[in-house]
C-alpha cells in the first residue's frame, strides 16, 4: 500500500513555476529526503503536498487527512505553557500520547514554562513534538532541524526512525545528514525550464 504517490508534479510560487515533472512514491516505513539549492521550490512542493497550495500540473494521490505538516513556523503560542500548546494540538488532531511526545523531545522539565520563555531550539522541539500527538501516517517536514543542537538532532532522528518503524512515512526537506536510511531526491534536475516558466497565471490565479 502506497501512502503517497506524486506524478509529474509542477508547482509555482508567485505565478512562476519552480520545479516540474517531479514523480515519486512513498510506502509505509520509507523516508524521502528532498535536497536542492535555496529557491528551487522545496517549501512550495511540500506545501502543495500538505494541501495548502494547488499544484500547477500533475497529481498527488494519498488518503484524506494523512499529512502532519511542520514548517519554519512552529505554531507555538507564547502566552500558553508548553503542555497547553501541545494538548491543544493533541485535541485538534484527536490524538493523545502527550507524555510520550514530551519525553521524546526532552520537554518534560519545560512542560509548565510559558512558551514565550523558550529558546528558538526549544520552540522547534515543541513544534516537532506536535507531530507525535497528531498521529498522522505521513510527516511532511520543511527543514525540521533548523536551530536544533546536535543532541536534539539525534533525538529527532530517533523520533523519525520510530515513526518509520511504526508504519509511517516521512518527506523531509533538509540540508544536513540525519543518518536515516532514506532515499534522496535532488530537485535540481527538475528545475522548471525557462521558456515554460515565464507564464504568470494572471489575476484569476486566486480563483482557479
Amino acid at each position: 500500500m502506497t501512502l503517497l504517490s506524486v506524478q509529474g508534479l509542477a508547482v509555482a510560487r508567485g505565478g512562476l513555476r519552480t520545479v516540474e515533472g517531479v514523480s515519486f512514491t512513498l510506502d509505509p516505513g520509507q523516508a524521502l529526503i528532498l535536497r536542492g539549492p535555496n529557491g528551487i521550490g522545496k517549501t512550495t512542493l511540500l506545501r502543495a503536498i500538505a494541501g495548502l497550495q494547488r499544484p500547477v500540473a500533475g497529481r498527488i494521490d494519498m488518503a484524506d487527512d494523512a499529512v502532519a505538516y511542520a514548517a519554519h513556523a512552529d505554531g507555538v503560542k507564547g502566552a500558553l505553557t508548553v503542555a497547553e500548546n501541545l494538548s491543544f494540538w493533541a485535541r485538534v488532531f484527536g490524538g493523545g500520547g502527550m507524555d510520550t511526545a514530551l519525553s521524546a523531545m526532552d520537554l518534560v522539565p519545560l512542560a509548565d514554562r510559558p512558551a514565550a520563555a523558550l529558546s528558538a531550539g526549544q520552540k522547534r522541539r515543541l513544534g516537532l513534538a506536535r507531530l507525535l500527538v497528531a498521529r498522522r501516517p505521513l510527516w511532511v517536514l520543511d527543514e525540521p532541524t533548523v536551530s536544533l543542537d546536535t543532541a536534539s538532532v539525534l533525538r529527532f532522528a530517533a523520533m523519525v526512525r520510530g515513526h518509520l518503524a511504526g508504519g509511517g512515512a516521512a518527506l523531509i526537506a533538509t540540508h544536513i545528514d540525519l543518518g536515516l536510511d532514506a532515499q534522496v531526491l535532488d530537485l535540481t534536475a527538475f528545475r522548471a525550464k525557462a521558456d515554460r516558466a515565464a507564464r504568470p497565471a494572471g489575476f484569476n490565479e486566486a480563483f482557479a
Partner: protein, 218 residues
C-alpha cells in the same frame, strides 16, 4: 472545535490578549460624549441610541485584525488548515471567541453606559436585545474581513474599509430598535430585520471567509 474555542478564550484573557479592550473603548466613548455635547438630557437622549451602537461597532472593529493575523504569523493557521477541523468550522469558532471576548462584555456593560447617556429605563431592554441580536453579525462580518486581509502587513486600514460598509445595516436597525424602545413604539420590525441580517450572516459568512483564507494561504 471546543479545543480551539477554549484556546482562543484562554489566549484572550492571558497577558496581551486584548480582553476588555473593547469594553474599555466603549466606556471611554460613552463617558466622553456628555463632555462633548453637554450634560443636558434633552441633547443627550436623542443621540444616545446612535452613540451606543457606534461605540459597540467601533469597539468590535478594534480587535478584528487579531482574529486571524496572530495565527497566521506564528504558523498556526497553516497547521489548522491541515488539521481535521473544517476551515469553515474554525472560522465560526474564532468568530464566536471574538464575540465572547468583545461582544458579550459590551452587552453586559451597555445598560450602565446607557444611564451615562440619559437613556430612559424603558429603552434598556431594547438596547440589550438589539446588541444581543446584532453583535454576533459584527463579529462574523469582521472575521470575513480579517480572513480577506490576513496575509497583508498593516492590513488594519483595508480591513476597516472592507468591513464598515457591511456593518451599516446592523447599525441602522440596531439604532432604530433602541429609538423605538425609547419612544415606547413597537420594536418588532427592526428586531426582525436585525435577526434576519444576523441569521444570514452566520449561515453564509463562514464559507466565504474559509474560501478567502484558503486563497490567502497559497
Amino acid at each position: 472545535m471546543i479545543a480551539l474555542l477554549k484556546r482562543d478564550l484562554r489566549l484572550a484573557v492571558r497577558a496581551g490578549g486584548g480582553f476588555g479592550l473593547g469594553v474599555a473603548f466603549f466606556l471611554i466613548l460613552c463617558a466622553l460624549v456628555p463632555f462633548g455635547v453637554g450634560p443636558d438630557s434633552g441633547a443627550l437622549r436623542p443621540i444616545a441610541p446612535g452613540i451606543l451602537w457606534l461605540g459597540a461597532l467601533l469597539a468590535c472593529l478594534l480587535s478584528l485584525d487579531r482574529i486571524f493575523a496572530l495565527d497566521h504569523e506564528d504558523g498556526s493557521l497553516d497547521l489548522l488548515a491541515t488539521s481535521p477541523l473544517p476551515l469553515e468550522g474554525a472560522v465560526a469558532v474564532k468568530a464566536l471567541a471574538h464575540w465572547i471576548t468583545t461582544g458579550l462584555p459590551l452587552i453586559v456593560a451597555a445598560p450602565l453606559f446607557g444611564i451615562l447617556l440619559h437613556l430612559p429605563g424603558a429603552a434598556i431592554p431594547a438596547l440589550i436585545v438589539s446588541l444581543l441580536l446584532g453583535t454576533p453579525a459584527l463579529s462574523m462580518l469582521g472575521a470575513f474581513g480579517a480572513a480577506v486581509t490576513v496575509g497583508l502587513r498593516r492590513g488594519g486600514l483595508l480591513l476597516s474599509l472592507l468591513v464598515l460598509p457591511l456593518y451599516i445595516p446592523t447599525l441602522i436597525f440596531g439604532t432604530e430598535m433602541i429609538r423605538r424602545g425609547q419612544e415606547g413604539g413597537s420594536i418588532a420590525t427592526p428586531l426582525l430585520f436585525l435577526a434576519g441580517i444576523t441569521a444570514g450572516t452566520l449561515a453564509l459568512i463562514p464559507f466565504a471567509a474559509a474560501a478567502a483564507l484558503r486563497i490567502n494561504l497559497r
